[in-house]
C-alpha cells in the first residue's frame, strides 16, 4: 500500500510535510513500514480540500487532513482496512461520502496528460518517473528518429503552445531547426505570472522530469545542446525539485554527452526571474536572461532566428513541454484525437474565485465552460448566481452566461472576446461588480507594464483613471467613449502581447456588462454594491430601535434621531464609509 501525500506548495502551506512525518511515525508505531509507504507527491489539483492524502491501490481520497488525523488513518485504514469516513469527500448534492477519487465529480470529467504524474509519483525520485515510462520517449527519439521525423510527429499531434498565444509547437520547432548556428538554445518559459494561475508551478513541483525530457527532445529536434529554464525566483520548491531532477538525470546519463549512446548531447541550467509579468513575453524573457532590462523588443527577428545571445532559440511554456513525451509514447494520432478541430489535446486550468472546487484541473479541449464550472468546479459558492468567468489571466476577458455552452479552445475563446492565456479561470458571482473587476485587472497591468511603449505605459494608466472615476460615481457617458477608444488603440498599437491584450478585461466587460457601466455612470448605482462611493445607506424605520450606535459612530455626523426613535441618514452628508452598516446590531441599515 502507498499513502500519497500532496507536497505541492499549497498543501505544504497547510502542514502536509508534518502529515508525512506523523504518518511515518504511526506506521512505525504500528510496525507497518513494510506494508505501507508514505510518498510525497506533486499537486492533486483539488486544492479546495487540501491537504490531500490518497491511499493506493484503492484510491481512497482523504481531504483536509490534519497532522493529528495521521494516526487514525494508519490505525483504521491501513491496519484494519476501515476507511476514515469523516475525512472523505462529501458530495455536495446528496451529502454522501465518496471514497474513490475516480467517482468524484471533480475528477470525472478531467483528462490528465500534462498533469499525468502530478499527485502520482515522488517528484524527487527519478526512478518513479522512469517507472511510468519516463525518458522512453527521449530514448525513442534520439535512437530511432531523425529530428525531421520527430518534428513531424509533434506537428501531426496538433500541439499548440500553452503559454497563451497557441502557436503550433511543431512548426515553431521546425522554424528554429532551419536556422543554422554554432549554438542554439531550448528555453522553457516558467515565468508564470497570471494572478491565481499555478499550473506551471504544479507541473514543475510534481513532475519536473517530464520537462527535462521534453526539453531534451526539443534540443534534439532543433539542434540545440543547451537548455535553459527561466523560472521565477518566488517558486523555491519548483526550483529545488527541478534542480534535484536535473542532478539525477545527469547521474543517469539522461542529460550530458551521448544520451542513450547516440551522438546527441544536451544539458540544462536554470535562470531566475525577479517576477516581472512581462518577462513571460519571450523577447522580454530573453532580454532578462541576458541580464538586460526585462522588456520586449520588436519582432521580427523572432527568437527562432535571433534569440538568447543572438542565437536561434526555441521558447516553449512548461505545460507545452509536459505534453511532449506523451505524444511520442502514445502517438500523435492518439493525441490529435483529443480536443477540437484546431486545438488538440487537453488544457490545464487554475480554477479560482467564487467556485466550490478551487483547484487545478486538466480537461480536453472542447469541453464547455458549464461543464468546468458546474460539474468539475461544483458550481458557485454559497448557492449564489453565476455572473461571469474570466479566462486568460489579467489580459483575458470576462465571459457570461451566454458563453457557458461554447466548447472552449484557443480560437473560440478569442472569438468570444477573451483568450486561453496560460489557463487562469476566475469565476464571479452576482456580488461582483464588473467595473471593479475591470479596474482590478487594469491595476495589475499598470503595475506590470514595462514602460517601453507609449500606449501601454500611459494608455493603461489613463484607462485606470477613467475606471476609478466611474467607480467613484464621477463618470459620464463621454468617459465610456474615451475608455472604448483608448482600449481599441492600446490593443491596436502596443508593442507586445501584454499591451495588445491588456484592454481585454475592459473591452469584454464593456461588451457584456454595458448596463453595469451605464448604471455607474448615469444612475450612480453599483448593482453589486461593491463601489462604496455609489452605495446609498438608509435606515429601515420599522427595524431601527433607536439605539444610537450608528449616530455615535458616524464620522461625519450624517445620522440624526432621538433615542429609542428611528434614526435617519442625511444623504447629502453621508460619505458612504459603511461604518453604520457594520455597527448596527439590528440589521436596520440597508445598502442600495
Amino acid at each position: 500500500m502507498q499513502l500519497l501525500v500532496c507536497g505541492g506548495t499549497g498543501c505544504r502551506a497547510s502542514a502536509s510535510a508534518t502529515i508525512v512525518e506523523k504518518l511515518n511515525e504511526s506506521l512505525k508505531a504500528h510496525q507497518l513500514t513494510e506494508e505501507a509507504q508514505v510518498v510525497t507527491t506533486g499537486c492533486f489539483g483539488f486544492c479546495e480540500k487540501g491537504p490531500i492524502v490518497k491511499v493506493i491501490p484503492d484510491n481512497t481520497f482523504y481531504t483536509q487532513v490534519k497532522p493529528e488525523d495521521a494516526e487514525e488513518i494508519v490505525a483504521e485504514h491501513i491496519l484494519k482496512g476501515r476507511k476514515v469516513s469523516r475525512l472523505l469527500y462529501e458530495n455536495p448534492e446528496n451529502q454522501e461520502h465518496i471514497a474513490d477519487s475516480r467517482h468524484m465529480g471533480f475528477y470525472q470529467k478531467q483528462m490528465r496528460i500534462a498533469l499525468r504524474n502530478c499527485g502520482v509519483i515522488d517528484p524527487e525520485n527519478i526512478d518513479e518517473y522512469i517507472g511510468r515510462d519516463g525518458y522512453s520517449a527521449l530514448a525513442q527519439v534520439v535512437t530511432d528518429l531523425t529530428p525531421e521525423q520527430a518534428i513531424a510527429m509533434v506537428k501531426q499531434s496538433g500541439l499548440r503552445g500553452r503559454g497563451g498565444a497557441g502557436f503550433p509547437t511543431g512548426l515553431k520547432w521546425e522554424i528554429t531547426s532551419k536556422f543554422s548556428s554554432d549554438q542554439k538554445y531550448v528555453v522553457c518559459n516558467a515565468d508564470e505570472g497570471d494572478p491565481g494561475a499555478f499550473m506551471d508551478r504544479s507541473i514543475l513541483e510534481g513532475d519536473p522530469n517530464s520537462i527535462i525530457e521534453a526539453m531534451a527532445i526539443c534540443g534534439y529536434c532543433i539542434g540545440a545542446t543547451k537548455g535553459l529554464v527561466y523560472i521565477r525566483a518566488e517558486y523555491p520548491l519548483a526550483i529545488k525539485r527541478l534542480e534535484i531532477a536535473i542532478a539525477q538525470a545527469r547521474e543517469y546519463g539522461l542529460l550530458g554527452d551521448n544520451i542513450f549512446g547516440s551522438k546527441f548531447s544536451f544539458d540544462m541550467e536554470l535562470r531566475y526571474g525577479a517576477g516581472a509579468f512581462v518577462c513571460g513575453e519571450e523577447t522580454a524573457l530573453i532580454a532578462s536572461m541576458e541580464g538586460k532590462r526585462g522588456e520586449p523588443r520588436v519582432k521580427p527577428p523572432f527568437p527562432a532566428e535571433s534569440g538568447y545571445m543572438q542565437k536561434p532559440t526555441n521558447v516553449n511554456n512548461v505545460e507545452t513541454f509536459a505534453n511532449v513525451p506523451v505524444i511520442f509514447l502514445k502517438g500523435p494520432e492518439w493525441y490529435s484525437s483529443i480536443g477540437t478541430e484546431k486545438s488538440k489535446g487537453t488544457k490545464v486550468f487554475a480554477l479560482a474565485g467564487k467556485i466550490n472546487n478551487v483547484g487545478l484541473i486538466e480537461v480536453p479541449m472542447g469541453i464547455t465552460l458549464r461543464e468546468i464550472i458546474y460539474e468539475i468546479g461544483g458550481g458557485i459558492k454559497n448557492g449564489k448566481k453565476f455572473k461571469a468567468v474570466q479566462t486568460g489571466g489579467p489580459s483575458g476577458g470576462c465571459l457570461t452566461e451566454a458563453h457557458l455552452d461554447t466548447p472552449i479552445d484557443f480560437d473560440s475563446l478569442v472569438a468570444a472576446g477573451s483568450m486561453m492565456g496560460s489557463g487562469g479561470m476566475i469565476v464571479m458571482d452576482e456580488d461582483d461588480c464588473m467595473v471593479s473587476i475591470a479596474k482590478f485587472y487594469l491595476e495589475f497591468i499598470v503595475e506590470e507594464s514595462c514602460g517601453k511603449c507609449t500606449p501601454c505605459r500611459i494608455g493603461n494608466k489613463r484607462m485606470l483613471e477613467i475606471l476609478e472615476k466611474i467607480t467613484q460615481g464621477k463618470g459620464n457617458m463621454e468617459d465610456l467613449d474615451h475608455l472604448r477608444n483608448l482600449a481599441y488603440v492600446i490593443k491596436d498599437t502596443s508593442l507586445c502581447g501584454l499591451g495588445q491584450s491588456s484592454p481585454n478585461p475592459v473591452l469584454s466587460t464593456l461588451e457584456n456588462f454595458y448596463d453595469e457601466y451605464v448604471a455607474h455612470v448615469k444612475d450612480k448605482r453599483c448593482f453589486a454594491k461593491k463601489c462604496k462611493a455609489l452605495a446609498r445607506y438608509t435606515i429601515d424605520p420599522d427595524v431601527c430601535t433607536g439605539c444610537t450606535i450608528c449616530a455615535r459612530n458616524c464620522p461625519v455626523e450624517a445620522i440624526t434621531g432621538e433615542k429609542r426613535e428611528p434614526h435617519f441618514i442625511h444623504q447629502e452628508i453621508c460619505i458612504h464609509c459603511g461604518v453604520c452598516y457594520q455597527k448596527c446590531k439590528f440589521n436596520a441599515i440597508n445598502v442600495e
Partner: protein, 587 residues
C-alpha cells in the same frame, strides 16, 4: 539588388529589399511622423526601438497596426498611413504622450526645437482626452555644471540611452523603474555628477524634447556686459562660426566669422578674440611635447610613454579620468585652447591692457557642453577666480544676439581684435575630427625636419570614419597617427593600446561625432550627417583660404613667446598652459 514593389497611400513604390516602411514612404514623399526613431548613418547607428508608436500604419489584413520605422516592406504590401484607423491611433498616442507631459511649452528651453511640439502642431491637436487631474509621472530634477535633466519631459524614446551607451560607451543613462514611472536615468537614480557622465552633451543633442537641456549662462553674460567695472573678453571656438549661421536661417556650412565678430562687438564685449589663437598656442605646446617624446623615444629612452594623446576635449578628459585611471600619464599635459586662452587673457593680456584679473571676465563661446564643466575645474582657477568665467554654447550665443535685437543677416563683417584674435588655418581646423593632429603635424614636421612643409593639406587625416589611422613621412621617419571621434571609438583605440595592439606615436580624440562641429552645444542637427559634413567642409575651406596655415608662423604667437612665455614647455608655459589629471571614477 533585389527590389520590392509596394503601395503606400495609393502610391506605387519600388525599394530595395530590407527597406522599412518609414524609409520607403519618405522616398515616395510621404512623411510618416515619428518620434523615437533616430538614424545616425555616419555612426552606423539606427535607433528604432519601435516604442513611441507614433509612426503606426495600417496594413489591411494584419491584426494590429505596425510601426513603420521597424517594419520591413514586403512585396505586394499595401500600406495606409492615413486611414481613419491609423490617424485615430496616432492621434491617441500623441495625446497620451501629451497627457503625461508638462504644458509649459512657451517657456520650455526646447520650445521651437521640440519634436513633440512639432507633432502636436502638425497633427493639429487641440484637446487631450484624459480625466481631469490625470496623474503625471514626475521625477527629481537633476542639475550638473553642463546639462540639466528634467525627466518630467521624457517621452521614453531612449535616444539618449543609445547615444550614451552604444555610441559613447559612457553608460551614464539607462531606463529605470517600470510602467508609468519608467524613465531614463543614471543607475540607482544617481545625480549626473555622481555618474560616469562626461558632459559630452550628445544626449542633449538627440533629445527630442526639453528633458535633457544645456545649462544656460546667457544672463550671467548679459549681467557681466552691463557691469561698468568689468572688462569682458570673448573667445569663439573654431566650430562655432561654421554653425552659428544655421540659427539665423543660413544653410548648414555657411561660415559667419565676420558677422559673428560684428555681433559680439555690438553686444558690448570689450575685446572680441578668437580661441583659434589659443589653438595655435596649443600646437606650440602640444607639438613640442610630442616632438620631445618622440625624439626621446627614438633615442632609446624607454621611460617615454607613447602614444601621446590629445587633451583638448574636456569630455574626453573626463572619460579617460573615469575609465582609464591607469593611463593618466599618457595624454598630453597641454590644456585645452579654451583654458590656454583664459590663462593668457588673465595674465599677459590683462597686464597689457592694464586690467586687474578680478575685473576681467572671460567668456567663451563653445560648440560644447563639457566646456561649461571644464572652466569650473579647480585647477583652472587662481584664488577661486576662474581663467574662463562663463562658457556659453553656439545656441546660447544665437539667443544673446536675438536678445540684443541684432539683425544678424544685415551685419557688416568685422575682424577679431589683436593680438589674441590672430590665428592660422591650423588653429581653425581644431573644430573637426583629425584637425588637431593635422595642425600638430604641420608644425611638428617643420620643427622635426627643419624643412619647409610644401603640402600643407593632410587629406589622409580627414574624414568621417570613426577610427582612422595614417603614417606621415617626417623625412624618412614615419610618424604613426591614430584618430578617433566619439568616445566609443576612443574606447576601442584605448583598449587596443592597453593590449599593445597599436604602435601609434600620437592619437587625437574628440568626443563628439565629427569633432566639435557636432558638439552638444551646436544648433540641433539631430544627427543629420549632411549638416555635419557641410560644417566640416566650411572649416576646411576657410583654412584653405587663410594666409597663414601653420601655428608656429602665427606672428602674435611668436610675439607672445618672445614677450612673455619664453619658449614652449618653459616654466611659465608649464604653470599657465599645462595641467595634470585626476583619477576620479566619481566626479
Amino acid at each position: 539588388m533585389e527590389t520590392i514593389k509596394l503601395t503606400i497611400d495609393n502610391r506605387q513604390v519600388e525599394v530595395p529589399k530590407g527597406t522599412t516602411i518609414l524609409q520607403a514612404a519618405h522616398q515616395a514623399g510621404i512623411n510618416i511622423p515619428s518620434l523615437c526613431y533616430m538614424n545616425l548613418p555616419h555612426l552606423a547607428q539606427e535607433h528604432k526601438p519601435g516604442s513611441c508608436r507614433v509612426c503606426v500604419v495600417e496594413i489591411p489584413g494584419r491584426k494590429n497596426l505596425v510601426p513603420a520605422c521597424a517594419t520591413e516592406c514586403a512585396d505586394g504590401m499595401t500600406v495606409l498611413s492615413h486611414s481613419l484607423r491609423a490617424i485615430n491611433a496616432r492621434r491617441t498616442v500623441v495625446e497620451l504622450l501629451l497627457s503625461d507631459h508638462p504644458k509649459d511649452c512657451l517657456i520650455c528651453p526646447s520650445s521651437g526645437n521640440c519634436e513633440l511640439q512639432k507633432l502636436s502642431i502638425t497633427m493639429g491637436i487641440r484637446e487631450i482626452n484624459s480625466v481631469e487631474n490625470a496623474a503625471m509621472s514626475t521625477y527629481r530634477k537633476d542639475a550638473s555644471p553642463a546639462l540639466n535633466r528634467n525627466m518630467d519631459k521624457c517621452v521614453m524614446c531612449r535616444s539618449c540611452e543609445t547615444v550614451c551607451n552604444e555610441i559613447q560607451t559612457v553608460g551614464a543613462l539607462s531606463a529605470v523603474n517600470r510602467g508609468f514611472m519608467s524613465v531614463v536615468a543614471p543607475a540607482f537614480e544617481q545625480e549626473l555628477t555622481d555618474s560616469p557622465c562626461t558632459f559630452c552633451g550628445q544626449c542633449v543633442a538627440v533629445c527630442p524634447t526639453g528633458a535633457l537641456t544645456a545649462v544656460d549662462n546667457t544672463f550671467h553674460v548679459i549681467r557681466a556686459l552691463a557691469d561698468p567695472n568689468k572688462f569682458v573678453v570673448v573667445q569663439t571656438a573654431p566650430a562655432v562660426r561654421a554653425a552659428l549661421g544655421e540659427e539665423f536661417g543660413y544653410p548648414p556650412g555657411t561660415s559667419v566669422t565676420g558677422k559673428m565678430t560684428a555681433a559680439l562687438r555690438s553686444l558690448g564685449f570689450d575685446k572680441v578674440f578668437d580661441t583659434d589663437f589659443a589653438a595655435d598656442l596649443t600646437i606650440m605646446e602640444e607639438g613640442t611635447e610630442l616632438l620631445d617624446r618622440i625624439t626621446r623615444y627614438l633615442d632609446g629612452d624607454k621611460s617615454v610613454r607613447l602614444p601621446i594623446l590629445t587633451s583638448c576635449c574636456p569630455a574626453w578628459v573626463n572619460f579617460f579620468e573615469t575609465n582609464y585611471p591607469d593611463m593618466l600619464d599618457v595624454p598630453s599635459t597641454a590644456r585645452s585652447p579654451q583654458q590656454m586662452f583664459g590663462a593668457i587673457a588673465k595674465t599677459y593680456m590683462a597686464e597689457k591692457l592694464g586690467v586687474k584679473r578680478e575685473d576681467m571676465v572671460v567668456v567663451s563661446v563653445m560648440p560644447c557642453l563639457a566646456k561649461k564643466y571644464e572652466c569650473q575645474r579647480d585647477e583652472f582657477k587662481v584664488d577661486g577666480n576662474p581663467d574662463v568665467d562663463y562658457a556659453i554654447t553656439t545656441r546660447e550665443l544665437a539667443h544673446l544676439i536675438k536678445i540684443g535685437n541684432i539683425d544678424f543677416k544685415t551685419l557688416k563683417e568685422e575682424d577679431f581684435d589683436r593680438p589674441m584674435g590672430e590665428s592660422t588655418g591650423a588653429g581653425l581646423i581644431f573644430g573637426v575630427t583629425g584637425g588637431v593632429i593635422e595642425a600638430a603635424t604641420r608644425t611638428a614636421y617643420e620643427l622635426f625636419t627643419g624643412k619647409k612643409l610644401e603640402k600643407v593639406d593632410f587629406h589622409e587625416l580627414r574624414g568621417m570614419e570613426g577610427i582612422r589611422t595614417a603614417s606621415v613621412n617626417f623625412d624618412g621617419t614615419y610618424i604613426h597617427i591614430g584618430i578617433a571621434h566619439t568616445l566609443g571609438n576612443a574606447r576601442k583605440l584605448l583598449d587596443g593600446i592597453r593590449k599593445g595592439m597599436y604602435n601609434f606615436h600620437a592619437i587625437e580624440i574628440m568626443a563628439c561625432p565629427g569633432g566639435c562641429i557636432g558638439g552638444g552645444g551646436q544648433p540641433l542637427h539631430r544627427g543629420n550627417s549632411i549638416v555635419l559634413k557641410a560644417r566640416m567642409d566650411s572649416i576646411y575651406k576657410e583654412d584653405f583660404n587663410k594666409p597663414i596655415r601653420k601655428s608656429h608662423e602665427n606672428p602674435e604667437i611668436i610675439k607672445l613667446y618672445e614677450d612673455f612665455l619664453g619658449k614652449p614647455l618653459s616654466e611659465k608655459s608649464h604653470k599657465l598652459l599645462h595641467t595634470h589629471y585626476f583619477s576620479h571614477p566619481k566626479k
